[in-house]
Point group: C2
Chain length 208, copies 2
Amino acid sequence: MSQGNLYILSAPSGAGKSSLISALLAQDQQKKMMLSISHTTRQPRLGETDGIHYYFVSVSEFESLIEQGIFLEYAKVFGGNYYGTSLPAIEKNLSQGIDVFLDIDWQGARQIRQKVQSVKSIFILPPSLQELERRLIGRGQDSEEVIVQRMSKAMDEISHYDEYDYVIVNDNFEQALTDLKSILRAEKLRLGYQKQENQGLIHELLAK
Amino acid sequence: MSQGNLYILSAPSGAGKSSLISALLAQDQQKKMMLSISHTTRQPRLGETDGIHYYFVSVSEFESLIEQGIFLEYAKVFGGNYYGTSLPAIEKNLSQGIDVFLDIDWQGARQIRQKVQSVKSIFILPPSLQELERRLIGRGQDSEEVIVQRMSKAMDEISHYDEYDYVIVNDNFEQALTDLKSILRAEKLRLGYQKQENQGLIHELLAK
C-alpha cells in the first residue's frame, strides 16, 4: 500500500477554500481523502461538533499537549485562541494510503514545511479584490470591527501566496474543483508514488 | 502571455503512447498543444507527410543541420537512420504559450534534460508484460527478426522508466488520457506559472 500524501491548503477567508474541500470530500467515494481535525481552544460555533469539526479543548489541556510534543504546528491567533495540528492521527491515516489535508494559514504552513519535507502546499486565491470584499462583508453576521480585522488578516494571508507549490484562482467553482483534483491526481502519478504503487508490474516488466 | 511547457513523452513501443497523444491533441480545441515534428532520414511510410509527421531529409542534409547546431537532441538508431529535434521551432511555439510534446526515447530525453532544465518528462508503461507482447506481435506487419528487435528495444526503454518525473500505466485508455491531462493541468497550477498567468490579479490583491 502506498503512503497517502499530505497537503496544506491555505487561502484568505472568502476565497472559497472550505466549499472546495467539502465538495472534494463529498465526491471521494473510496474514502481515500480526509481533512485533518485540528485542536482548538475557541468555543464551538452553532452546528460544530467535537471530534468532527475540531477537537475542542481547554487552554490548559492545549498547553499540556504542546508540552507532550504532539503538535506538528500550533498557533495562538488574534483573539487569544490556540489552534494546532496533532501528528499521530495524520501519520496513521497517511500510512493507510489516505491523503490528508491541513486547512491552515501561512504561519502553520511554514512550521509544517520545516518538519515534513514531502508536504505539498496549495494556495487558493479569490478572482478579484472586489469579489473578496463582497464575500468578506456579505456574511452579515459580524461587526465592522471584525470585518476590518478579517480583511486585514486576508491581505496578510494573500501576501504569502508565493510560498506555496500550487496556486488555484477560484473564479469558477467547478473549474477550481477540477484544478484541485488535477493536482491530487498528478501527485499520484509522480515517479516516487508510482514506483510504490506498481511494484508488481515494474518487477514483472524489468525481469524480462 | 505565459510560456508553454515542454514535455518529453517516452514509452516502449506497444504502450499506447501515440494513441494517447493523438487523443489529447484531438481534444485540444484551443490549439494550445502540439507535437514537436522531428527530423528523420528514414523513408516515409504509407500515409506519412513531410512537415506533418516528420521532416524527411537526406543523411547529408541531416549532418549539415547537426553542424549548424539546430538540434536539441539527435540520435542514430539501429538501422542507421537519424532522428532529431530542432530547437528553433520549439522555442517559437513555447513563447506563444503552446505546450510542446517531444515523442522521444530515453536517450533523447537525457540530452534534452541536460539542455532544458524546465522540461517535464512522462513515461508510459503497458499494463502487463503479456499485454505488451501481444501488442508488439499483434501488428502482423513485421518479420520475426523485427519483432525480436522491437521487443529488445522495448525492454531497454522500460529499464529507464525511473529517470522520468511522471509515470502513467496505460491499462484503461480513458483513465490514462485523464491522467495525462491531470499532469498538464497541474503543471499549469504551479506557482511559477500562475505568477505569470495572473500577474494582474496578484498585483491588484497585493496593492490593497
